[in-house]
Subunit: 422 residues, 2 copies
């Protein structure tokens, strides 16, 4: 049987996991695909070196990989949107399948890459880009392709989930929890992509493109991170039976797409409330199957590598030249404006404790057509926290009310603004 | 583009769902596969008739389907192990792909059917046979094929899950809940396969064959159902923080397989404890990805039909003649005896309230090497319930102790015996 030749770009956390799994599971892969697998070359970037890697495999020149006719599949794990993009395009044009975990590249240049794969009759697979070891891309693109998924809703970033879990359990504030997460290796030295929601947004762009059959780019995904979530608001939510999670939410509204990432309160009884630490979980909703949930580790060397290997097996088992359906974006849906989305909000504002302040606040809500479900006043003396749970309202109305509230003389400091999902 | 011709066997609950989805999602299927899909023939069994079905499609002769060269995929939804087996074998031999939801047939004759598919270079797909709309077969056979799954653990029967949820919530006994479930359509008129665990056992046979790469037949799966679960034991469990679920449990122990179905107590905090009603959920464990959980509706017309359509798309997208890997049972693992499995037990026995009875009971446990974690005495007067939570022990030891206990003069009536999982 002809071997499957593999070229690996990058030998960091995930790359070394791939190397390890390829070796440990060589027999299973060979039995599953009918062909033995061979890691032929590993591209190491300048400044990196991997002492545990056979020096005969190492190259610093991409030509050694793209020019090797025995290499069928190129696994890109160097990340970023520069060299990685160039390497992926060249590999696809050379007729090689590409497997990647690069969510930012997919989120920003997915259309170009998928079209290039399509034109060259090869596969581009990216299971590891979305929810680590959880095979949500395969499920969406193969099992549920005709199921009209209407909603994707879940926890798709392990770092922020770990941090919010820690804030909830310990009552510590954002900065302290971040420092601790960095110390333990759950957050990177530069945590920007995670804490701003950009990482989650790229994943939501990829998943919603496939689920809705219409291109969603990273730039189309409005994202708020967890940087403004305070221990005070988490504690208030807890008293209301709510838990704070960073959610990715993609919805079809009247055939139009709204894809966002934001911190949200969910009831403690919600299945996502129990997803803690570095785990991810995603609900898919459809008229065809009501709801399906997939849960698993969101990152990590071996889980991510396991998703990469699954993709390698998948491309090898799907014959070259057969219908490749790399890009399932055969529809061209509009986007649904976030202003028009109907949402529930939790709002905490700090007010000077003067007579009539609550009446003035309530009047603003009334004039903007935002109804109050419950209000709790916390503290007293010079200033008090007013904590509102609001009824669902168009977001434009809520934000208009918020702007007017913040302009009131009595309102002080930063408000706490968190959506409430059910 | 060449059409995909479909022949459908059976037009009952799932069959009519398939007809509906094929029509409603014709465009999506065509765009996903590159080929339009055409339902060419529906085999109705004697005694059935479907007024909403185009009479031109209906046939009562399987020859009209197997002999039609335009039919590429035969969907078998008549169930049972008689005609269904014959039809599947003939369709496969005629070079047609087969998609089915027939778990009993797969569980009993899977090897024969998969070998026949293999020999004829066609696919046999059975996603709908296992956990309804949840694509666990695809995930196991494609995404996780090289991930060395060690454990499958979950709720795989919706009827019994609904019944146990109802018993827990209402305190009602088995017979009353069964009658109510039948009235509401959650349990069939003949509920035997569900309540005895046979339905769950067939699903566990199918899933563990794929996960462990070694054939597991229905006959290899010891199954206890929920017929002996009492409201009294559920209430005792509840006081101990435990919830009763019918679990399918497949484990690799030293490379050998132990696959079973039994009612078990799990902690209320366990993610499976919150899975109620007709939902199913399955945990997969592996060193490669720690654990993954898939959750969704376990049955129902449209969810099951959605899984069937996913399989149709999958076979069409996998080129004929490419490596078909229908049977992934390329290993030949032994079975691990249940007697040697180490389990924890909940045990309730009714004893005459005489002096020294607890000492005699405790002596039996001690002599058999089964240690008591906690004991609660409930009731008094003539007789009392002794409720034990035991430490993990070899099952052979526990059952030896149980036999001796039941032989004691003081022990009366039926004991409550339920495993405890964590």
């Amino acid at each position: 049987m002809e071997k499957i030749g593999i070229g690996l770009l990058g030998y960091g956390t995930v790359g070394s996991g791939v190397g390890k799994l390829l070796k440990a599971n060589a027999e299973d892969i060979s039995l599953a695909t009918g062909r033995p697998v061979e890691l032929r070359r590993v591209l190491e970037l300048p400044g990196f070196s991997s002492p545990d890697l056979d020096p005969a495999l190492v190259t610093h020149d991409f030509e050694d990989i793209v020019g090797d006719p025995e290499i069928d599949v190129v696994i890109e794990l160097i990340g970023g949107t520069g060299a990685a993009r160039d390497f992926q395009l060249r590999a696809l044009r050379a007729g090689k399948h590409v497997v990647t975990a690069n969510k930012q590249l997919l989120g920003q240049h997915g259309a170009e890459l998928l079209e290039t794969a399509e034109q060259n009759g090869v596969h581009l697979r990216f299971e590891a880009s979305s929810v680590g070891a959880v095979p949500i891309i395969k499920v969406l693109r193969e099992s549920l392709v005709a199921a009209e998924v209407k909603t994707i809703f879940g926890i798709v970033n392990g770092t922020t989930n770990y941090m919010l879990s820690a804030m909830t359990e310990t009552g510590a504030d954002y900065a302290d929890v971040l420092a601790e997460a960095q110390r333990l290796g759950y957050a990177e030295t530069d945590p920007t992509d995670d804490v701003t929601g950009k990482d989650a947004a790229a994943k939501m762009a990829i998943m919603s493109s496939i689920a809705f059959h219409s291109r969603v780019n990273l730039a189309d995904v409005a994202h708020e991170g967890i940087t403004k979530v305070t221990a005070v608001d988490i504690a208030h939510g807890r008293r209301l039976g709510l838990v704070c999670k960073l959610l990715g939410v993609a919805r079809l509204v009247d055939g139009a797409m709204n894809v966002r990432v934001y911190p949200a309160f969910i009831p403690v009884s919600h299945p996502l409330a129990g997803v803690s630490g570095a785990y991810n979980a995603v609900f898919l909703e459809s008229a065809a199957f009501d709801k399906i949930m997939l849960y698993g580790p969101g990152a990590g060397s071996v889980p991510t590598a396991s998703a990469v290997i699954g993709d390698v097996i998948s491309v090898v088992n799907t014959a070259k030249g057969s219908f490749t359906h790399n890009c399932l974006c055969y529809k061209d849906r509009p986007f649904y404006p976030s202003d028009d989305v109907v949402s529930r909000f939790f709002l905490r504002i700090r007010v000077a404790d003067r007579p009539g302040v609550l009446a003035r606040v309530a009047a603003v809500f009334g004039e903007e057509g935002v109804n109050i479900q419950s209000m709790v006043q916390d503290g007293g003396g010079d200033a008090a926290d007013l904590v509102f749970l609001l009824h669902p309202a168009r977001e434009a109305r809520f934000f208009a009310a918020l702007e007017r509230l913040l302009a009131l003389d009595e309102v002080q400091g930063e408000p706490g603004v968190i959506r409430v999902e059910e």
